[in-house]
Symmetry: D2
Subunit: 361 residues, 4 copies
């Protein structure tokens, strides 16, 4: 069983290496008669695109998506949607000197061990470039969900920690998230992070980050017991993103410290409707959505491509040092916000269609 | 797509409610000619079984497993292995008064929303009782892996935090893990936890926990890019366990705070072999095992069944309070250690067979 | 990827060998709140059960099914339904002398080649006994479809050819199908077949058969282009039944001989509704149901277990002869009618739920 | 669950409509380090390409395939292989007058019923054009199998019946199959068929065909009991091809007429090796290959696009007539030979990798 597809009812398969001719994906399972053109996808890709501030890689990729199939006169037809992005800014020269060594923190070594062959140009298939297709698939997923759930449905994300610098959640303001280069919801944190990351970048260092994605307006009842729980699939989705090393839902690790009587969301009636008194669970109970906002956090490790020598070995078993001269992000977490949002959209579209398919009528 | 199966090449499907006649599972994809009898499975179930100390539920379930198919004269035949455990200690009376309300922190509400019908006896399918079958499947997975990888392969787990009380990792001693009721590797922490949990239990409270599972002797090259990464599947596996709300690999969330130059595992040659200088990655790079021990931690929320009233609502929309009178664990995390171990075994067996199936010869 | 499961949205996994303790299956994906008890399944099993006439095996198996999970107070709960049938009439003695040889026409040789181990008692997993679980799963599928489609939906089957003796389709009468031991719809053929099969049986021979299954009242629009077409999945379903060697839909092979202008179903309007002028397509166009009755035929080869010596070789590579002394069907096709019906029900339930899951709302 | 993918371990997903910008596919699961360039694929596409004789459609499509990912320096890398063929000869004008009606024998009606929207240009996704991608995937599958099984492995196909005209199997000569426009193995049949099809074409009629595909040099032991049997998957593969209505393995339907003692392949020892005395089973026993050549036949119905008026109805429910003015094949079966060969290659590659993945070491 190969592993380049995600989802079951809403299923996308991606392909492409960072320095090949193109990257692309096929989204299968999209319901018919939904509005979909390149204009519905491009804005999300733009959000992820490199080169937008000095804090992300300066690699110039317009990341212009094209739809090659599956739509007719602006509507989906129920047939597979093929998406393609041509690779424009290919500079294989940059990578020639890393050809025969294993960069620390990269997948060079493990791809070599698994496949015995490696497309060494820009990490090949392990490149973060693959995530552009996740964002594109997420845009298609949003069309599915918007049509089904309407305006109250919304997915949005933010960076809540950079390096050791955490936001003050009391100052959380969604309105400023799009106005700073870090998707930071805490205005006071922005200049601090800016200073921190500038210093790190100049020092040839890099920084990790914690991101938080919210899904609002999600109906209760989604998620399939017992192995394909909503939170299990969200965890898999986020952990499959490059450089992610941890995922939590709701209170997550912090919830462990609470006494049992404070750790669960009690309920009461209000104006004839059941209301949860809190959302410690982060929107799921028993792996099924409960109607509260989904809250997922995940950790992105510091960028492993560094412009300073790091000890490693060559393919032929000799000690050496790796140094990255190319263009790279000092904090890859920044660009992971739209990716995390997209993966949540894909998981939700998948579970929405799965749930429809279990209702029986 | 229903959700009661886990894995692809090594695939198990479980069934059964906590208060039905039995619970069971079918393990499909087990290679032929491996030794397997009930005696290979029972010890792992005994490790998870209730009633072994005052810190776990006193429900009396012998959890005696029977193999109904798939073996012949003590060896697997390559056909599906059916496992069954009869439910002995059924006391439906205990649950009659929770029949019409939604217990906080339980799946009552979400099952109701999803299915419109609910087997209210002891949480039905959402009961932790289902995890017995995970442990049984894990025992079968171990037979697969032992035959392939030999003696250097080992999975073991421990509890590293109870409530807010964390172990001192400098005192980690695997040898004592089996000798205390908490799977605690820090001898000094045991009496502290014992006191803490006794107080909590008497107060009608409960405690969360963080568990850590190690997989040693795992060959490099396992995990399928890009969506079925080893860490992604481990995250899904752990997050699918009842009450788990967070998962991390290697440094996990803590790794975010490190500067890039300290966050990745450098390499050097030693006696002709490549050696990693550290294991911050927790055994995976690019979603593929690197030969270092797999290190996974996950958070189990405090038990939600409490012997004290908690505000909630009834099925008919009236305010009420839920109180659990039955026998329950003050810290469900304790019994999750063998479950986490079993899930890692299943993920590894699955990826081992998947990898074999991608080699082509 | 193991192969003991069928379907995707309506998915069942079977287990068990003919001479083990029991056989069973798990049906996952059944919608909640459908009526289901053992009484909904048993009649279909009785239809397939051995020992009902002198033309089927005299093996005595009551084939009493039990539901072990997934229902509550007579209704499905949306959780997996575990079904079990205990093996009562086990006589391992009968099989001792075939232990070390490969019976012609049986799976003995290929199981040996594939697995290197073989449960030789009564064909193990390759026994037709496994089909009892298909019939049980089919009964569950019917509950799904009856609830969704109502009374106009009906699946029924008949035998249309035994050996070289074909029915006269002009005499087709569904009403007599259940009243003769062959599920024959042509009253005039019954005594002819009876004589033919009696002679064959006494001569130590056996006969093949062609069966035809009709699915009426199936809504248009079911089937997933392009690989999971309705006819493709029906073909797989029927071909997976023991001893089946051919499948056709509608005109099938005979349709090849028609000129193009006569080979397709034209349409016209009648009372405001579109009507097909014929059903040469057998109910599918482009792999999607068109609202006409599904018509599937399949060929069952003559029983391979014969009470006369047949040349073969031993496991150790010596020439020998195989002879079956046990109780066997002179025409296994007879008992395949309810199995074919059940497989059609399973395919339809699967595609019905899949289609629901692609509609998007 | 969408349906545009085939296979599990060797899995390909196709996309594209006949008159869109391009068609394509992604092949996932291909083992690494196999030789693969466009030159390994193009010859098989050329074999299927339109416009090669007066007996196939004159639509001009160079069908030039490009590999967009998954290879590096002429070798596969283990990552997904993206294949694309641009649509060159798009003439949407030809289809404008069939826009609002349902052509008999086509999928127009059923796509409309299923999706409520239809890309009416040249049958959209239901076009036989999709099969080009099957042929391309088959070429990749052959690389997998050639590397594993060597020179004794070979797949080849022939047409054995056109309309009512069957070949004389005594005259079967593989050497002439590639030298006539019909893939006919009987030299005497060629001029007869040529005359027959010329007359049919001029009369505005069309003809059906029966094709036979052989797989030689296939090792025993492939196929997964009990639902994913080799013959079940071959049946699905062939039945999923456009216009196919019947499939049989080995003796198929004809085997029904044999007495049991003549219907099965007996065995004997010869020079120390087991030898089958015949191949009535067509290479499978119990759904597992037995080492004998796989023999599959399938029926292709007469072309449904006819240049003469046929009664039908419009989308708006009015009686009308459909007539096809475009370029079409008088016998679509001709071009189905390489498609059937390709599907067999894909099924074998899939089961080969699946079997490897079940061996355990």
């Amino acid at each position: 069983m190969p592993g380049n597809a995600f989802g079951t009812a809403f299923r996308f398969t991606t392909w492409g290496e960072s320095h090949g001719l193109a990257i692309g994906g096929v989204v299968d399972g999209v319901p018919p008669r939904l509005p979909l053109t390149e204009d519905d996808i491009q804005p999300w890709l733009d959000k992820r695109r490199p080169g937008q501030s000095k804090f992300v890689t300066q690699r110039k990729e317009p990341d212009r998506v094209r739809i090659l199939s599956g739509t007719f006169e602006g509507l989906t037809t129920g047939t597979p949607i093929s998406l393609i992005i041509e690779n424009v800014d290919q500079r294989p020269r940059d990578y020639s000197e890393i050809k025969d060594l294993f960069r620390p923190g990269h997948a060079d070594f493990t791809y070599w061990k698994k496949y015995g062959i490696r497309d060494y140009r820009g990490s090949g298939r392990a490149s973060a470039r693959e995530t552009a297709m996740r964002v594109a698939a997420g845009a298609v997923a949003r069309q599915v969900l918007n049509a089904a759930w309407g305006d109250t449905f919304r997915i949005r994300g933010a960076m809540v920690k950079m390096g050791a610098l955490e936001i003050d959640r009391a100052r959380w303001d969604w309105d400023i998230v799009g106005d700073n280069p870090f998707w930071c919801p805490d205005a006071a944190a922005v200049p601090v992070w800016e200073n921190f990351l500038t210093v790190a970048r100049k020092a040839g260092s890099s920084a990790g980050a914690v991101l938080e994605i919210h899904g609002e307006g999600v109906p209760p009842g989604l998620g399939e017991p017992v192995y394909d729980k909503m939170d299990a699939d969200l965890a898999k989705a986020m952990m499959s993103i490059n450089a992610v090393k941890a995922v939590e839902i709701g209170d997550g690790f912090a919830g462990v410290e609470l006494p049992g009587e404070d750790a669960h969301d009690t309920m009461h009636m209000e104006d004839g409707a059941m209301v949860f008194d809190s959302n410690r669970a982060g929107g799921t109970l028993g792996g099924i959505t409960n109607g509260e906002p989904l809250v997922v956090r995940f950790a992105v490790k510091p960028t492993s491509s560094l412009p300073r020598p790091r000890p490693t070995v060559t393919v032929d078993g000799e000690d050496t040092a790796a140094i990255t001269k190319g263009r790279h992000d000092p904090c890859v977490g920044i660009r992971a916000v739209p990716i995390g949002e997209a993966m949540m959209a894909c998981v939700l579209a998948d579970h929405w269609l799965r749930d429809l398919g279990q209702r029986g009528r």
